[in-house]
Amino acid sequence: MPLKLEELRRTREQAREEARLRSGKVKDLMVCCGTGCVAGGGFRIKQALEKEIERRGLKDQARVVGTGCNGFCGQGPLLVVMPEGNFYGWLKPEDAPTLVEEHLVHGRPVEKLMYVSPESKKPVPLLADIPFFQKQMPVVLRNKGLIDPERIEDYLARDGYQALEKVLASLTPDQVIEEITRSGLRGRGGAGFPTGIKWRVCRQEKRTPKYLVGNCDEGDPGAYMDRSLLESDPHSLVEGMIIAAYAIGVARGFVYIRTEYPLAIERLRKAIASARQHQLLGERILDSDFAFDLEIREGSGAFVCGEETSLIHSIEGESPEPRQRPPFPAQVGLWGCPTVINNVETLANVPMIVARGADWYSTIGTPSSKGTKIFSLVGKINNTGLIEVPMGITLREIIYDIGGGIPGNKAFKAVQTGGPSGGCIPGSLIDLPIDYENLQKAGSMMGSGGMIVMDEDTCMVDVSKFFIQFTNDESCGKCTSCRDGSEALLEVLTRISEGKGRQGDVEFLQELGPAVKDASMCGLGQTLPNPVLSTLRYFQEEYVAHVADKECPAKVCKELIKYYIDPDKCPGCMLCLKNCPSGAVKGESKHVHVIDQAVCTKCGECLEICPPKVAAIRKVTGKEARELRSLEAPIPVKEWRARRAQETRAREGR
């Protein structure tokens, strides 16, 4: 009698039964407890709701569940009331009594806490009606916001570990690999290597032991899907890893996770513990002969450790520098043994592919890129958050339909994908369908899926400089081309952004970039010039403006801008003077103020503080900055106005 399997099925049935009994009678308040919402007070809101429900004796009618990341981080902290799916955002603990009173007691959804559509300015009560969610297709994140990530029962009730049961009961390892190969699943970490092929290579290696590593060293700035995945549904990774281990023939696995993600580490640790309890990890998994165990290894803040050979060295405790490939880790990896390293998102796809079949999976996406991809949509965008969309969706759909456009109706300038290895895709390519090949052709890459939206206020030279600073800092120093090449790129970019650019600098960047790409060994060096090269390709005129006209069109580069007080508008209210941290603003009450450019640190405090209806302060750059003459010293507003009036009269008289 297969005891453990029976027990697992019983637990699942019980959990489902519970859910059935609850439905219709009990409302589930799904409070988002992902890192973003927790920072905004998610746990406090959860406690406040629990207390309020307890106080009103509604414990039989409502249950508060702390879920993982819901995805709509821009609205956090947030709450979804199930089963109806009422969505509330921007909550505070003080809102708990109103919510309980109105929604739970009287059954009246609370309008003032709902999501407000920016177009119609009307509140949208249901999650399903919010455009942010409408074009999404949750496959990997199917359980986000619907389960308590710390309870294995919730995962089981939503068909969790059924794929594993199927694999152990009816599929050989080769059949699993065949299925994954047929599904067209490709690595979600960036390069997009076909997962099935990687597994097969490792399976065919004769040497044992073999290892499996889930790579959650999500170093790309602006990408946080792996963190979110672990926070909202850690068991999907555990299940994916067990299936992968079975297919490849591995007995020991590691999850390498960034130390910057404490909540994700904690949830994964709990998930592994409860999986062990149910004999899903360890010896004789679900009474089969298959054994596998999982261990967490933490990183310590080094971007290069996301590179697979470097990651291997880091786990081993060696110095975390990449090494030459081949041999690939699938042949020679951890402690010299064959090792498969997959991104966390890739592994989390596996249970769904096994459960629903490769045929179903391969209907999603484009011919070369199958399935869905999680993107983090961040930067200058209205609906910040994590989205899962089918491959082949256009940028326009992502930015305008899901993302709700750019704040303040500013112009969409570019979107940066692929982190420091990727590039900027300009507004002109907004109808580009997103898949691995198209992004590559556009000079960027999929990367781990960060999408940083930039508007007209973003300077492309500054952005390239930022990325090169990052890679220059994170370069391990092994290859001269990467170590010194990034240094040289940075030097020139800094020079350009400071208005000291020379003739030929742009050409130099164009020449050095490809040289660094060609001569470096690992992915970091091979891709680090991408941000520079792609911005050069699409925004060369901005570089030229910096070099030739000493002008920063986006008015970002400090050395090329000036803050200027328009004497015609300044009422002498002294707000900017009081708030200037460096004492550069001169003036007194009812006097036209003047900024002493020699003292000004260009922090922009004055521009922010100047009331919008006055709007006397503006940023100027280039020719305008050089030619604009401000007053020598503050003079009374009345005197200035009189002088202006006189001038006007003189002009008209003539």
Binding site: A223, Y224, E298, S300, G317, G379, T384, F466, C603
Partner: protein
């Protein structure tokens, strides 16, 4: 040194003392000028300290790549005579006509016949193995003893124990005191240089003491585009320290950190595990105040 007057007919030879990189280059330059050179070196071979270096300051050039061509050229040069295992005993005479006595210690091998094949080394029945002195045992300072010993006991038998050990020590002590690193080297068997390399490679580790509160300002792209540099400037100004520095009262350390994955909250920072998001410069005094109160 008192010098006798220069003779009208100088001797066409020079003596270079020391066969390091400087001596080698001097010898080559002299020989290129047509002067016969005697290169005196105290050790069995020329090359000096540079032969032991990997890279040289400040250009980071490979040391061996710099000196190997010179070594070869000196070996081949007909006008350079290498006097290895030799020491200068006395110098007489003056510029243009020195008389130098060199004492050469025996090599026990006929240098003119030896081809450097290495067969004798392999076949010598007596191997002189260097026996280094037993290094003194390092004891931990009492303040750390219990914690560090406990961490070691938990992890030392794992495969790949170094990272978990360093991570826990860092979590407990907030930095790596030199004595602790030496102790870990002794106990784990990893060379100290290796441990030091790891301890300085990762940005989460530090070998200098850090403050009670480490303020990690996210400098990820999203936070950067949303103004985290200005947040950093404000913090820097309020605390009176630069990024990566610690206040003199050991309360605050200011650090920039790569993306903390809170892009929805940009710009964000963390203090001791607590995330603060959607910040402006106006929030800075509040955050600092909160920490001071907690302390």
């Amino acid at each position: 040194m008192s010098c006798e007057p220069l003779r009208s007919q100088p001797v066409g030879a020079a003596l270079v003392v020391g066969g390091g990189i400087g001596g080698m280059q001097a010898a080559l330059d002299l020989a290129a000028g047509g002067i016969k050179v005697h290169l005196v070196e105290g050790r069995p071979a020329i090359g000096g300290v540079m032969s032991q270096l990997d890279k040289t300051f400040p250009t980071n050039d490979c040391a061996m790549c710099t000196m190997a061509p010179r070594l070869v050229e000196i070996g081949r040069h007909r006008d350079i005579e290498i006097l290895s295992l030799s020491e200068v005993q006395s110098i007489q005479g003056g510029p243009g006509d020195f008389r130098v006595t060199v004492r050469k210690r025996p090599r026990f091998v006929n240098e003119s016949k030896c081809t450097g094949c290495g067969t004798c080394v392999a076949n010598c029945p007596v191997h002189n193995v260097v026996q280094p002195l037993e290094p003194p045992r390092i004891e931990l300072e009492p303040a750390y003893r219990e914690q560090v010993a406990g961490i070691l006991a938990r992890h030392r038998h794992r495969t790949g124990p170094l990272m978990p050990i360093l991570q826990e020590v860092d979590a407990a002590l907030h930095y790596f005191p030199e004595g602790v690193l030496r102790y870990l080297a002794q106990e784990t068997g990893y060379p100290l240089a290796h441990i030091y390399r790891i301890a300085t490679f990762y940005s989460a580790f530090s070998v200098v003491p850090r403050g009670k509160y480490v303020i990690n300002v996210c400098m990820g792209t999203t936070c950067y585009v949303r103004g985290s540099q200005r947040l950093m400037d404000k913090l820097s100004e309020s605390l009176g320290i630069k990024p990566e520095e610690t206040t003199p009262d050991m309360k605050f350390t200011l650090k920039s950190v790569r993306c903390i994955g809170c892009c929805g909250l940009a710009p964000a920072l963390t203090v001791g595990g607590e995330v603060y998001g959607k910040l402006t410069r106006k929030d800075v005094p509040d955050i600092l105040h909160k920490c001071k109160e907690a302390a």
